[in-house]
Subunit: 301 residues, 2 copies
């Protein structure tokens, strides 16, 4: 069962940067993750949206393999996020957040979601991430992403959730934030001692590292990317990584090993390279699995 | 030929900290390195001292294996350094530096020094380090140590010297200083792309890491150390590492591999743990090879 159960936010984003602006475009961590990972394997997204969200096949494309059984459409408005980026896209400011029906979202796994071999816990409350871990298959390969907001306000449940996953996706600032240290290397050891076997350290335009307890690897970025909107780059990266991993082995039979994690980085980078080439999901949705594989093969590893 | 050719400073140190003060005690990077490494293999120290330096067998002990043929005693005063430490020993201030005969030191390798299988380039001018590299055996295993002073004022020759060695010893601040980056992980790649196959990242009381292009390892410190004077800890660490490495293989026949570098960390940490237990060389000189090995076996790796 190499399905990928994925939980995260599904939102309508309003994004403004020096190249333009878009209103109420489908986004959120789960949207980007799904549109990247579902090129490789069947994704079972788990979230709630409002009645104002477009049909999923319209928002996430018709050529992606995803199972809608764990998505619920509820009376009310979809989670909305508005953000404005600095000219170089290195910084962003949240302009507004309206939780909508997401405020009362309680993840309940249904049907084949309970049997998924891969679980992605996107950037949502650690309490919800823990609930999904509880309900999911014990021997599934689990990965978690988070952000500063949860490190600040939900430290203990976040650490508990991290301790229960196989892989942590994190950027360099968040890494130091979690451990309270000044240096990355000691922080990496701290995380790997908490429980995860792998840590993927995302560095945006400076590439990404993967670490196990005794190995590490670096992958650059796809160099000919036309940078338009970096929203969802990290979630698309995670989608490429998890999609690739799910296509390599069944974790119930084979332990996901270093070689697979190392090789997955370029699929993450390739998915992210598409995600940033247009506003919202548009450019990622225009990419096929072959497109991702072609770019992945051109990224230095 | 597993001799270790080592170049660095030999000084008379005046050290002041919250536990006491000592005047004109034998020190300098080469003294500490030699007293640690010469427990494992024959060291050929290369330096010049003044006529006021005590006999080497008195300064460096009689049970260490070192070859005096590349040490010169010159008319004039020995290099002198005076420093004062903060209460927690984390910071130090240089009070004075008198170069003495070291000002005109030009390394010229004699006899078996030219044939040494291991070369340690201690913390001296990169120009002198390059000169020693030029004169030493091509297939020798070379390691280099440096400090902020040389990074600031001698950047280009330092980078050239680093590009020609197998292993770089460096602490975390110096690492970021050299690369001009904000994060360790990208800096580590930069250094390994310059040429060294290994990087040993020293973190004082937080242990040390070794990195190759695809592997890494961490070693803690010896936990029962009575911290008195941290002068020479890094050089003693390098001495333990290089001494151990020289005892494992002849680099002309066998390439020094990851396993050896990884295992060497605890010998470095053990040597450093002795060095810091007394003022100057006193405590390190009181340690036998067996003492170092015993502590090494108790350090987490």
């Amino acid at each position: 069962m190499n399905d990928i159960l994925a939980v995260g936010s599904v939102a309508l984003d309003t994004i403004e940067n020096s190249t333009g602006r878009i209103d109420d475009t489908p986004g959120g961590s789960l949207s980007y993750f799904t549109c990247a990972a579902a090129l490789f394997k069947k994704v079972i997204p788990l979230c709630a949206v409002g009645t104002d969200f477009p049909p999923f096949s319209e928002a996430w494309g018709t050529d992606r393999k995803f199972d809608k059984s764990n998505l619920s459409v509820e009376e009310g408005r979809t989670f909305r996020w508005g953000g404005k980026y600095s000219k170089d896209l290195d910084f962003r400011q949240t302009l507004f957040t309206e939780l909508g029906v997401f405020e009362n979202f309680e993840p309940v796994l249904k049907g084949r979601a309970k049997n998924a071999g891969f679980v992605f816990l996107g950037n949502i409350s650690p309490h919800l991430q823990l609930s999904v871990i509880e309900q999911s298959r014990k021997d599934s390969f689990k990965a978690l992403d988070t952000m500063n907001y949860w490190i600040d306000g939900f430290y203990e449940p976040l650490i508990e959730a991290i301790s229960k996953v196989d892989l942590l996706f994190i950027n360099d600032q968040e890494l130091l934030h979690i451990t309270g240290r000044k240096t990355e290397t000691s922080s990496i050891l701290d995380i790997l001692e908490l429980g995860p076997r792998y840590l993927v350290l995302k560095k945006g335009k400076n590439g990404a590292f993967a670490f196990s307890k005794d190995r590490y690897s670096f992958a650059g970025i796809y160099k000919d990317t036309a940078l338009i909107d970096t929203t969802g780059a990290g979630d698309s990266f995670a989608g490429g990584v998890m999609g690739y991993l799910a296509s390599t082995a069944d974790p119930a039979k084979t332990r996901i090993g270093w070689k697979e994690v190392r090789n997955s980085l370029v699929y993450g980078a390739a998915a992210a390279s598409y995600a940033v080439e247009g506003f919202g999901l548009s450019s990622l949705l225009g990419a096929s699995k072959k497109d991702i594989e072609k770019r992945a093969s051109e990224i230095p590893l």
